[in-house]
């Protein structure tokens, strides 16, 4: 259960997020849609604590997390998958997974490398391969698997479909639905409306750092005017 209210974030003097409010409940897939530069990544980074918000309240399972260090937030069960993947290039697949490993957590799925290889069969075939010698799609799978090793109850996915081939995008959508079936809550950021329609239950639209729309994915799909205004390029 993630609840965000009146979140303001700045980089130095550049104020980026203005009173962002959103929430995501267990078992739900929520998408944060917006164009390039709208503030999606900044929102997710504020949640995990990689950038410190100016003001606002972030609650995770009822607990304030907006003053915690990223490692503390992660240990509470909020996983983060960055946009740039940030695979440890010198480490093998198994070692990348090891970095993400955290103890079993009550009320959240428990992941082992073996279970993850069922979800991502490709990775299972390259356990000892160095992270720097994998394709973009493989890296994207690994970065998600690595975060799952922390047994999170909620995962933040920053533009998971970015830069992937259509086939891999389909796989990614299937993966996110798998995670939902495991009972995970997923908050993802996207520019790709089609991909969002494949996975999301609810949607927020962010533009210039402000939430402009909130509704179910079905409502958004039906609302041509909103899509025209905020999402068409």
């Amino acid at each position: 259960m993630l609840e965000v209210s009146a979140l303001n974030t700045a980089y130095g003097r550049a104020h980026i997020l203005f009173d962002v409010a959103l929430d995501a409940r267990p078992g739900e897939v929520v998408v944060l849609l917006g164009r390039n530069g709208a503030g999606k990544s900044t929102t997710l980074k504020s949640l995990i604590g990689l950038v410190r918000p100016l003001s606002g309240e972030i609650r995770f399972n009822g607990r304030r997390i907006d003053r915690l260090q990223p490692y503390q937030v992660a240990r509470l069960g909020l996983g983060y998958v960055p946009e740039e993947r940030r695979i440890f290039a010198d480490l093998s697949v198994m070692e990348n997974l090891e970095v993400g490993r955290q103890p079993r957590r009550d009320g959240a799925a428990f992941w082992t490398p073996e279970r993850l290889f069922e979800l991502f069969p490709n990775l299972g075939r390259m356990k000892e391969r160095g992270g720097g010698r994998m394709s973009g799609g493989e890296q994207q799978m690994l970065t998600i698997a690595r975060t799952l090793m922390g047994n999170p109850s909620t995962v933040l996915l920053d533009e998971p479909s970015e830069g992937l081939s259509p086939l891999i995008v389909e796989q990614m959508a299937a993966t996110i639905r798998d995670l939902k079936r495991e009972g995970l809550c997923v908050l993802l950021s996207e520019q790709n409306l089609h991909f969002s329609e494949l996975v999301a239950d609810r949607a927020y639209i962010i533009e210039t750092g402000q939430i402009r729309y909130s509704g179910t994915m079905a409502e958004l799909s039906a609302d041509e005017a909103v899509r025209e205004q905020y999402l068409s390029v």
């Binding site: 130095g12 990223p70 440890f88 990348n96 090891e98 993400g100 490993r101 690595r146």
Partner: protein, 631 residues
């Protein structure tokens, strides 16, 4: 050389490589994870040697006493390292890189005086290792058994480190954090304890490196800086953060040194070529060659730009009217000083002015140029020697004042050509290497430079012989030099230089040749530092090699950083404060280095942006407050 001699020299090289590798591996490990260049690493080594000496005295010289002492010394140093990390470094991880350096350098000063206080100034040679005190015959020659032990120790430690780093969870986390510590944090890795652990392990290696040396090398107070410069060279040659690279580089350098000693003097076409004298610089030559061919070291990888960058440096504002007025008033006050004071006050003020010029010239390449120099004293020294040698050869002192800066400028022209090809820590190390080369030429070339004695009897022309007259010359020279440097920063050259520092790619795109600007800046700074050196030589009447040694370069860094690198006048205040402190404290207090170190630490912890930077922020915040206050 005979085959037997070659074998023995080769084994000698292997034995020396081990200790070198231990220190360098620790330094590299610490840098890889924390991104802190630990200047105090040589001090940890020195502590290891001294502590081992005392423990052996205490436990006795039996096998248990000796080996127990060697191990325990390493562990004590490791514990000390952990404390340093927890109480000092943790507070400054977010501070600018150079301030971190300054803090670890303050530790060097404190540890040195601590060692002086506890163990005194005499060299202390430990006993031979029990059971390994003899020699074995190899190829018909005697070879110390203890050296055989050292030969095994290096690869053994390498294997253990390799196992820790690749076969344990902790090692995996360390390697992950070396690559991207922010991401490791977002995955739940608590960096705090990881950093402490790495620092403790690195300190353990340094301490052990020092303690195993006790039968070979007496503990002395100069080990810290000589070990740290050796270790820097090894780490840079091997590639920052690469343990394997450190091993390779330690081997390479130790072998080359061993063979230089082994070859000794060679007569070549009637000239005597002394290879053994080359040992002082050969590692720096190796480093310079490696860095030019492989800028990231033998096994290193290009440093990625740090992920979480701090606040961008504010653009250089034109000085306000009040600031200009204040500077003019200061200049007028300085011009009036001889009316009221004479003698020692003038000598101290000349020193301060000379170092202000030196420090501003260093700031010139470090701040706006973005090139961190660890070897700026080279140009100060070249200026001093250039002036001194010309005068000794019979030229007038006025000619000397031109020749000094010129020689320094030529030195900067040559060294700068290499340096501007690198950036960051690598550039800093290359500047250090060149300074060391220049120093050792001066130090060894007895016939011309007077070697370690230096030159004496370098006096100004008769019309400048009075202290007052020389004071005005120094004031005019330094003020002009500083003004010209400042003026250049507001000329198109200065803007282009800063553009190159802030975004090299963009500067390149708009047609600025970044490298040639940096080279130019290097030469300008060299000329200015040379002027400072020449002025200082005539003021003192003598020149010693210390004027261009590593500690002098570090003094310059301390001055610039004390003042704060964001501020134009900062280096002047830093120089004044440092010179005055050194003078006042050194005369009154035996352990002035420790006091200085403590002051520096206090300043770093209290004002992580430097003094002038802090005052600037303070004024800014006052202005914002008063502007925002209701009328």
């Amino acid at each position: 050389m005979t085959a037997a001699a070659i074998l023995i020299q080769f084994l000698n090289g292997l034995a020396s490589a081990s200790s070198l590798f231990l220190v360098a591996a620790g330094l590299s490990l610490i840098f890889g994870v924390t991104r802190i260049v630990n200047f105090a690493h040589g001090s940890l080594y020195m502590l290891g040697t001294y502590i081992a000496y005392s423990l052996i005295e205490h436990f006795g010289r039996g096998p248990l006493g000796f080996w127990g002492a060697v191990l325990l010394a390493g562990l004590i140093v490791a514990a000390f390292g952990a404390l340093v990390e927890i109480f000092l470094l943790r507070r400054i991880y977010a501070a600018p890189e150079l301030l971190q350096l300054l803090a670890t350098f303050a530790l060097v000063l404190i540890v040195k005086d601590f060692a002086l206080w506890v163990w005194g100034p005499e060299d202390l040679l430990g006993p031979r290792a029990p059971g390994l005190g003899g020699a074995v015959e190899i190829a018909g020659r005697q070879f110390p058994e203890y050296d055989l032990f050292l030969i095994v120790l290096g690869p053994l430690v390498l294997a253990i480190l390799w196992a820790i780093l690749t076969r344990t969870r902790w090692g995996t986390l360390v390697r992950a954090a070396t690559e991207d510590r922010e991401m490791a944090g977002a995955l739940g890795v608590n960096q705090k304890w990881l950093f402490t652990g790495v620092f403790a392990l690195g300190s353990l290696l340094a301490g052990l490196g020092g303690s195993v040396q006790i039968p070979r090398e007496p503990a002395n107070l100069f080990m810290d800086l000589s070990v740290i410069s050796d270790a820097f060279v090894v780490v840079v040659v091997g590639g920052l953060g690469s343990i394997g690279g450190a091993f390779l580089a330690a081997l390479l350098i130790a072998e080359i040194k061993a063979f230089c000693i082994g070859i000794g003097d060679v007569t070549w076409f009637g000239h005597v070529l002394s290879f053994s004298k080359l040992t002082l610089v050969v590692e720096f030559i190796v480093m310079a060659v490696v860095l030019v061919i492989r800028p990231w070291g033998l096994l290193g990888r290009q440093q990625s730009v740090p992920r979480s960058s701090g606040a961008a440096e504010a653009p250089l504002a034109l000085p306000s009217r009040t600031a200009v007025q204040a500077l003019v008033a200061l200049l007028a006050a300085l011009a009036l000083v001889p009316v009221f004071f004479s003698g020692y006050a003038l000598v101290l003020l000349i020193d301060i002015m000379v170092f202000a010029l030196f420090s501003v010239s260093l700031y010139f390449i470090m701040g706006p140029g973005g090139m961190h120099s660890f070897g700026h004293a080279a140009y100060f020294g070249l200026g001093a020697y250039g002036a001194g040698l010309i005068v000794k050869s019979g030229a007038a002192m006025e000619v000397g004042l031109l020749a000094g800066p010129l020689l320094a400028g030529i030195g900067a022209l040559v060294f700068g050509w290499f340096c501007v090809r690198l950036s960051g820590v690598y550039l800093a190390m290359l500047t250090l290497a060149f300074a060391q080369i220049a120093w050792s030429v001066v130090f060894q070339w007895d016939a011309v430079t007077g070697g370690s004695n230096g030159l004496i009897g370098i006096w100004p022309a008769p019309w400048l012989a009075s202290k007052t007259a020389y004071y005005y010359l120094a004031l005019a020279g330094c003020a002009t030099g500083i003004f010209v440097l400042w003026r250049i920063l507001y000329a198109p050259f200065g803007y282009a230089l800063r553009a190159g520092r802030d975004s090299p790619l963009r500067a390149d795109a708009i047609g600025i040749d970044v490298r040639s600007r940096q080279w130019g800046a290097f030469v300008i700074a060299g000329l200015a530092a040379g002027l400072a050196g020449s002025l200082s030589a005539f003021s003192k009447g003598s020149i010693s090699p210390e004027s261009m040694a590593v500690p002098r370069s570090v003094d310059g860094l301390v001055m610039v950083l004390l003042g704060g690198i964001q501020n134009l006048t900062g280096p002047v205040w830093g120089a004044a404060l440092f010179t005055w402190l050194q003078d006042a404290v050194a005369r009154e207090i035996d352990y002035w280095r420790a006091v200085l170190g403590a002051v520096i630490l206090a300043l770093v912890l209290a004002f992580p942006q430097g003094i002038a930077g802090y005052i600037g922020q303070f004024i800014e915040s006052r202005r914002v407050k008063s502007a925002g206050a209701p009328a």
